[in-house]
Amino acid sequence: MISIRKRSFNYKKYNGVIGLLIIWEIIATIFEINNPETSHIIFPSLHYIVAHSIPGFATFWGMQSLIFGAKYSYLEAFKVLLLHSGITILRVLSGLIVGVLLGSGIGLLMGSVRFIRNLIEWPLQFARMIPPLALIPLFLVWFGGREIGIFIYITFSIFVMIVVNTIQAIKNVPHKYIKYAYTMGANKYQLYRTIIIPAIIPEITGGIRVAVGVSWAIGLAGEYLAAQSGLGRLMILSEQFTYTGRMFVIAVLFMFYNVIINNLVILFSNYVTRWQEKYSPVQ
């Protein structure tokens, strides 16, 4: 009723972005004319990125092309980007999904069984205080650069976040619903199934939206330091060979994937909380 959304395409929103790109291109071109040798390292122009940086990814196809070079090709570059994007997205999503499922499951278990809560609440509170990035060296020692290490690392970080989120959400369930359920004849199991779980879903989906951002960040950090593949690895390679343009390309790819996944999560959370009243303070 209150959240009436305009569906029509509003081109004015994109004026700022287009303006920014034009200014970029003008400045970079002037820079390029004055410093033809170094401009693409410090501040590559858009036409340089399209003509050189993108097809240049072809040289990232395996060790051999990295050392001996390879022909620039859009098709080969596309294959490279597709492969490494796939690897990164798979890592991030699998860690995210398993972390969220484990986190909300254990959170619910902690909420309902006092023994379990007493056992793991404090260790978790301590674990939460460790910045996830601080754990990377530890995971490197334990797992090397192996895939399972990156997976466990992302899963663990998301798990800790979501568990705490779930426990808080359970504490916030309005008491009136619990009283109502008992007077309608609910037992403890039914209370969880029919009251606690539906009542905490809005807060959990809020937590998931935060977790998506975090999982990109820590997934990338893991790839910087430990992995031999993935977009994070390509980013580090580009940096080592001073391919600044390619770094921009990867950044844009990240933005693109993040927008898609974010929108999917928003669609999902709007669906599961469709019963909830929504107020939007931003018009």
């Binding site: 009283k179 109502y180 359920a181 007077t183 004849g185 039914q190 029919t194 019963w275």
Partner: protein, 249 residues
Amino acid sequence: MDIKIKVRNLYKIFKTDNGDLSVLEGLNLDVYNKEFVSIVGPSGCGKTTFLSIIAGLETVTSGAVYLDGKEITGPSWERGVIFQEDSILPWRTVKKNIQYGLELRGVSKQIMDERTERFLKLVKLSNFTKFYPKELSGGMKKRVAIASVFANNPSVLLMDEPFGGLDYPTKVKLQEATLDIWEKEKKVTLFVTHDIEEAIFLSERVIILVKGNIIDIIDVPFKRPRKYDIRTCIEMQKLKKKLWSYIEE
């Protein structure tokens, strides 16, 4: 007539940081089968606590409440409660809300559908089965709450200022709807309110609770079914005046 609810020597003391707070001081009461009883009193007189104890949501300090001779020790579907705040479940549609209690008790699909249909009709919400509570007005939500509790077929109905926050016309309509259903179902009903007119209009007996004690019980002479003009007749004014004299102090 059979006694349905028996209250004996009921005491309730809340322990607070500022010392003990005595809310109920030795209540005794019999409520008969098929009776509609209202409890009125100034705020803080203990009426909501009293109802919560009967619902099993609050423990007693001493004394006991019996339902059909059995002591009440906790909440049960046999004692349905309609609360002042909206307690219908916002994540369930109107129909699912009305089914809720039956679903918990594992009633067969056929009986569930039958009863849900019936109470949807009784509260005139048949056209709103798939609506979520957020899409309903305050009065409609209350009707869902009433239908949900009645559909669960409790043997006692406890209503705790259910129409407290509503505007007058909505309130009048809901009172009449409540009586309508009550006359069809004849369930023992305890109705807590601070609205004197409401208490008289609805009930057989009005219990006046002041400072944790029952100071008087008034029999209401009006015949059923009751219509709106009862509210304005002389008899009603006299009863209101009498009740007011107790509560004023």
